[in-house]
Amino acid sequence: MKDALGNVQRILVLGGTSEIALATVRALARQRPGVQVVLAARRSDRRATASASLAALGIEVAEVDFEATDRASYERAIGFVFDAGGDVDVVLVAFGLLGDQERAWQDLDAALELAQVGYAAAVGCGVLVAGRLRAQGHGAIVVMSSVAGQRPRRSNFVYGSTKAGLDAFYTGLGVALAEDGVQVVVVRPGFVRSRMTAGLKAPPFALTPDQVAGLITAGLRSGRGTVWAPPAMRWVMLVLRVLPGPLFRRLRI
């Protein structure tokens, strides 16, 4: 149960190796010691490393197997976490896939995998988590969207299309759940220096996962439904969204 100062007690991370999610867990745990977290991810060395890094900070960590391409897997994982243990205050929906964007619009398997992980599984998990949080009567969902979902770009439009769908779903979910005491925070980061973007050239406004985490915790505290990271991205995207197509294409972004 969240306390009067917004300190949380138990967090579930779907996509438990996401750097932004882990940074967010660290930021929430810094506010108050004694936080419990469940990392749901594919069984891997990376998950073990993530778990150890949080445990080293005094956070009580549990791991659960989670495969976004397998409905039975994520149903089982979410059911297990909510049935065993106390209420979940925050669910971070942070799994995703960038992949090879050129293959993604030409290769059927690559395209469908991206659609499954980036959109279908996000919707599936959203439905399940929303049901559980409604039953609790409180809680928050933080979902990692992206500015890439705001206007399709040549360089990453398949990824962007999954984020556009995810963003619309969770934005609507936030409205649907408002009556149930459940907050949904849709996070729209620009470029974040992380594993996902390793090797890509960082544009201006690039943030670190910790910076995004700071904006997320502030958004959780203030009850916001949308968090832009950095906040100025909101205005950049406002302009980019209304730019005429021929002009937008010439920007080569």
Partner: protein, 451 residues
Amino acid sequence: MDRRRRLSGWGRTSPSVATVHAAGDDADLRGLLARVGPRGILARGLGRSYGDAAQNGGGLVVDMTARQRVLSVDADAALVSVEAGVSLDQLMRLLLPRGLSVPVSPGTRQVTVGGAIAADIHGKNHHVDGSFGQHVTALDLLVADGTIRTLTPDSAESPLFWATVGGMGLTGLVVRATLRMKRVETAYCAVDTERCADLDDLMGRMAEGDHRYTYSVAWIDCLARGRSLGRSVLTRGQPATLEQLPPTLRTRALDFSPRQLLVAPPGIPSGLLNRLTVRAFNEAWFRKAPQERRGEVQGIASFFHPLDAVARWNRIYGPRGFLQYQVLVPFEAEDTLRRCLGMLSDAGQASFLAVLKRFGPANPGYLSFPAPGWTLALDVPIGAPGLGALLDRIDEEVLAAGGRGYLAKDSRLGASAVARMYPRLEEWRAVRRTVDPDGVFVSDLARRLGL
């Protein structure tokens, strides 16, 4: 009609959504127990506990204010039997004209008898009269198996009585109670007011003179620093006798019809109560108080419940809400109290309602808050950076001195701290298990603190 509603405490922080059921008769309440879901059930009164004590997210919350009948009044024995949803306001309006006052009154009349028992509330007279539970001669508790137990303070069932007094509603639903009222000649108090220069001055006067008064409480300017740390206004009084009233009041000595003067409007932004405004308020409050005044006659309402004149005053803290922080520090740990106050004052936490009070002996309630010592209570707006860490540090000081926080006001303690603050928690759990092994009665507070 059951309705899903967002509920919060008086501090308006961390709300949750529950199914709210307006309490019907006993059979109706029994029927509820038969259809309790996995999220359990909890009674709620007038919602004056500050944190999440009267919330049960996702579960059932029984609005007990629908049960507000006064069942019998025995004026000779000063005993009154009421349903649990009767408020102290209602009791005072009904019984003061007959010379009976509530035995223990907190800072507001807008609490129910059921809530007063669950939180084992205290008032300005704790050092003399103890807490609310000590004036309950019997109560009817609907427990998880659907039976109603009549409990008294000293019988075979007394462990359950004392687990219910201060038990935060977690042993069952209090449906009825019999209270021993206090006889008074008038609806007034004779009040002495003194200004105290600093904390030592204040504590000296209280330790030396509180036993001469039925009521005693001090308001402290939390923003005063350095040598003025703890500068305060001490007000102490007695129930006024008929002779103490001015002649004009004597003919209506027992009239009691306090009016609500204002309603705080919605939409006040957070941050209105900040260091500057509170400093100005505190300065004015301190200057307004006389250096010393003896025997002033004040109405019970203005002496005990000044804030009741402004309905919904919690709105002045804005949408972020506020928390009330109340701790108890045992006698002999005055240094701890001084350090705590110093930390608050150094941090410049704007609190325009900081009060200090000396408690008398504890009662047998397992989770009852009052015990011999000093209790400091303050309202703090949410939003100041570092507030959580500051209060955590003060908790540590309080714990180290063997003190505790008050569950009815708590909205931010952790499970481990509470277990250390309430050494009889395990005993309480054992008694609770005898009537509610599955934890059907549960609240957000209970979940947060692992009670």
